[in-house]
């Protein structure tokens, strides 16, 4: 049997297990076990132990529960209300007015949270009812919230990036830094679209609220100072390179606890619930990573990734075509899988391919994060759609349709970073020096 055929059999086996509702973490490990047992001469048991133990007992991975916990703490504060009140007075005169709160709010919360669904839920909680009350266009509000929520994983810190960095064995800080500029571009594109749309549909934007003096505006934004300090702190730590990602995450938790305490929402109940919730989510992700590392180990023994990489290389696709094919692959996977699973499922096979084709692993990390963002807003399985469906009672397909223009902005961003890869690699190169 050729290696490509073996790969096909394993893939079919994996899809059968996934379709049957076997948990993703277990599916990965079971496929790894089958691969070890039938296609290598290596004993599977000891490798199972060392893969599970080795991948989870990792100092780098300890950043994961910290970043998740940080988001869970802030999710339980009054931050969403303060963001709306603090941002709204400044946006009265721009075309599109308060609709921009969605984009800015998601950008701000994305800078302290690493999850897309949490960002979407936090910002929507207050912004959506307020916008509806003032008579803003519902479709536009839903589309912008669903899509801008995905900024949570593009703007560092990002849980998705931590997972990718661990799977690709790349530097977390480098990938975090690489996310800033694409995140900013995406925000400009989102807000730009809102402004253009508002100019073209003047009847759909309600009149401005009462105007405030500059001093009043500053006063209204006062509650945003703590969160701004936290963002500045995180950016400063990352750019200065004075702390590792794990330390940065621990201080992020400290800062979030301080913000929660300041705002009076740091009760024992909130503290405990956020901690338990973070424990469960990080357990789920770490076990997926453990399963994936066992599968990667098994694949490494068979030589399948190398064979596939050579097979793809032999097809002589141009780099753009390869990226195009991968983009389609991820869009298809993204309709049914969550982002984390999508990354770990493909990393063992796709990363060698990408490196062979001459792509930078940091650049590919940002590419894959953007693909995960798309997955979050594509039906039938897109978590941001579920979040908003639950908040509004609107069907998730309606929300997906409302997101289409913003979805297009994501595609534009992917095109920009593919045509100008420097947009991604410039900041990490300047801060940390070029990678050898």
């Amino acid at each position: 049997m050729s290696l490509i055929e073996i790969a096909g059999i394993l893939l079919a086996f994996m899809f059968a297990l996934l379709a049957g509702g076997v948990w993703i973490a277990l599916t990965l490990a079971i496929v790894g076990l089958a691969c070890f047992t039938f296609f290598t001469g290596t004993p599977p048991g000891k490798n199972l132990f060392s893969a599970f133990w080795g991948s989870t007992s990792s100092w780098t991975l300890a950043a994961l529960p910290m970043f998740i916990w940080m988001g869970e703490i802030l999710f339980r504060t009054r931050l969403s209300r303060e963001m709306f009140d603090g941002l709204a007075p400044w946006l009265n005169r721009i075309p599109g007015r308060l609709m921009h709160v969605n984009i800015l709010g998601c950008g701000i919360f994305g800078s302290v949270s690493g999850s897309s669904a949490a960002t979407c839920a936090t910002v929507s909680k207050v912004a959506l009812p307020e916008l509806m009350k003032r008579g803003y266009d519902e479709k536009m509000a839903l589309g912008s919230l669903a899509t801008a929520g995905t900024l949570g994983i593009l703007i560092p810190p990002s849980i998705t990036m931590v997972v990718y960095a661990v799977a690709a064995d790349a530097s977390i800080i480098r990938i975090f830094l690489a996310g800033f500029i694409p995140g900013f571009i995406l925000m400009v594109l989102f807000s730009g679209y809102i402004a253009v749309w508002a100019v073209m549909n003047p009847d759909k934007t309600p009149p401005p609220g009462p105007s405030m003096s500059f001093v009043e505006k500053v006063k209204a934004s006062g509650n945003l100072i703590p969160v701004t300090l936290l963002i500045v702190f995180i950016v400063w730590v990352l750019v200065k390179g004075i702390a590792s990602a794990t330390e940065c995450a621990a201080y992020g938790v400290l800062g979030s606890l301080a913000i929660a305490w300041w705002g009076g929402s740091l009760t024992w109940r909130n503290f405990w619930e956020s901690l338990m919730s973070a424990t469960r989510v990080s357990c789920m992700i770490m076990i997926i990573l453990a399963g994936a590392s066992y599968l990667s180990l098994a694949m490494g023994f068979t030589g399948i990734p190398r064979a596939l990489a050579e097979w793809v290389a032999a097809m002589q696709l141009s780099p753009y075509m390869l990226i195009g094919v991968l983009a389609i692959l991820y869009i298809v996977l993204g309709t049914a899988l969550d982002g984390i699973s999508m990354i770990v499922l493909t990393s063992a096979v796709v990363l060698p391919m990408i490196q062979k084709a001459g792509f930078d692993l940091v650049w590919f990390g940002i590419f894959i994060v953007l693909m995960v963002e798309i997955a979050e807003v594509t039906p039938p399985v897109g978590f941001n759609l579920f979040v908003l469906q639950n908040m509004t009672g609107r069907d998730s397909n309606y929300i997906a349709r409302a997101s289409i223009p913003f979805f297009a902005m994501l595609v534009v961003t992917i095109a920009i970073i593919t045509a100008f890869p420097q947009v991604v690699t410039w900041l990490p190169d300047v801060v940390m020096g070029r990678e050898k």
């Binding site: 199972l48 330390e247 919730s277």
Partner: protein, 177 residues
């Protein structure tokens, strides 16, 4: 029996949460120690073991809570009977695998205890001590999976489906990635 098992899963889950808290405390302590010029070399190992313990000990609790992700696109379309067969099948496969995992997690750690294997990092302790979290976690996960399998065989709805439905009905999607 029911109460004893649930207590066991949750107790391990709470213990896992303490290890998450422990990572936080250790990381802060480490930077403070470094600033004051004290040595903190062994702490990296400790953080890594805490990380593993937080993941392994929380497995049974997380599984029961419905936080282990899976593809529900197809199985949600099944009828009630089809759904029961599917759950039993998935749990059967999961039970076989987690049993195998628990076996190896026990066997390997038992051997390292027997041969008095030591850790290789800066902090030298018998390696079975940190690895015990894996053994306990894997055994508990196996018990939890078998527990759910028995429940489904008896015709009940599995706990992980029930709890997830309740959460989503409340509009709580915070734990879906």
């Amino acid at each position: 029996m029911r109460k004893a098992l649930d207590f066991l899963y949750d107790a391990a889950g709470y213990l896992a949460a303490f290890f998450v808290l422990g990572i936080f405390v250790l990381m802060i302590a480490q930077t403070v120690l470094r600033e004051t010029g004290m040595k903190s070399g062994g702490m990296d190992d400790l953080v890594a073991w805490f990380c593993a313990a937080s993941a392994f000990l929380a497995m049974a609790h997380t599984f029961r809570y419905g936080d282990f992700v899976r593809v529900t696109l197809l199985i949600e379309r099944l009828g009630e009977r089809g759904r029961r067969i599917q759950e039993a099948g998935a749990l059967g496969i999961a039970a076989a695998f987690t049993g195998y995992l628990a076996w190896w997690a026990s066997k390997y750690v038992y051997e390292s205890w027997q041969y008095k294997e030591m850790s290789t990092g800066l902090l030298v302790v018998p390696i079975w001590i940190p690895q015990l979290s894996f053994t306990i976690g894997a055994l508990l996960l196996f018990v939890a999976v078998v527990d759910q399998l028995v429940m489904v065989m008896r015709g009940a709805k599995p706990t992980y489906v029930q709890l997830m439905e309740e959460r989503h009905a409340r509009g709580d999607y915070s734990e879906d990635m």
